[in-house]
């Protein structure tokens, strides 16, 4: 079974707007990662945040992590049509393993 859930399940916005996706998980983690998947393609790693970090930035991406609430959010600023994809969070639970447990995903549609 999957570790967590993401909301919303689907999100539609206009180019230039910001997109926020949330991820909740169930158990304590070592790190949390966000991936993007275009239709019919493989998963592309976006960003990794460790359990002792609270916020991380990469270009137009901002990720936050709240371990007390077991939740994370991914913010994409100034979205582009090319950002249209499914976004997944994935957690690594403990030391000694690199096993990723994925959430259910958010399908983002950015209209030009």
């Amino acid at each position: 079974s999957q570790q967590g859930e993401e909301d919303p399940q689907a999100l539609s916005i206009q180019e230039g707007e910001n997109a926020t996706m949330n991820c909740s998980y169930k158990t304590s983690i070592n790190n949390l990662q966000w991936y993007r998947q275009n239709s019919g393609r493989g998963l592309v790693h976006l960003i990794l945040i460790r359990s002792n970090e609270r916020e991380k930035h990469s270009g137009r991406l901002r990720v936050t992590l709240d371990t007390s609430k077991k939740s994370s959010s991914l913010l994409i600023t100034a979205s582009r049509a090319a950002d249209t994809a499914s976004y997944f969070c994935a957690t690594v639970r403990g030391v000694g393993t690199d096993k990723l447990i994925f959430g259910t995903g958010t399908r983002l549609q950015v209209f030009p």
Partner: protein, 112 residues
């Protein structure tokens, strides 16, 4: 190679047929993972190798599923007596210990 390579990209199997899916990880990557992704869902963990050792096979759905990585590089996922519910995209990923995972493009299996 430059990335994780999976073959075949597409496979159509008749129900009851055995199939073998191949994964060539990035050279030097110790960790290798197999995931199953049903349409519209997040990837579900199947199994995980560190070098040639299969450390976790808790996600394999039945004893019809078998994975191996005999020399610690190339891995094969074998599904015996395929059934319609096995239809999915099978994703392979590799990583260095404790680092981000790189995913292949997947093998889309259709059981008819």
């Amino acid at each position: 190679g430059a990335g994780v390579s999976q073959s075949p990209r597409y496979k159509v199997a008749k129900r009851g047929q055995d199939v073998a899916l191949r994964c060539d990880p990035i050279s030097g990557h110790v960790s290798l993972f197999w995931y199953q992704q049903a349409l519209g869902q997040g990837p579900e963990f199947l199994t995980y190798f560190q070098n040639e050792a299969q450390l976790d096979k808790s996600g394999l759905p039945s004893d019809r599923f078998f994975a191996e990585r005999p020399e610690g590089s190339v891995s094969t996922l074998k599904i015996q007596r395929t059934q319609q519910e096995d239809s999915a995209v099978y994703l392979c990923a590799s990583s260095l210990r404790g680092r981000r995972a790189f995913f292949g493009q997947g093998t889309r299996l259709t059981v008819v």
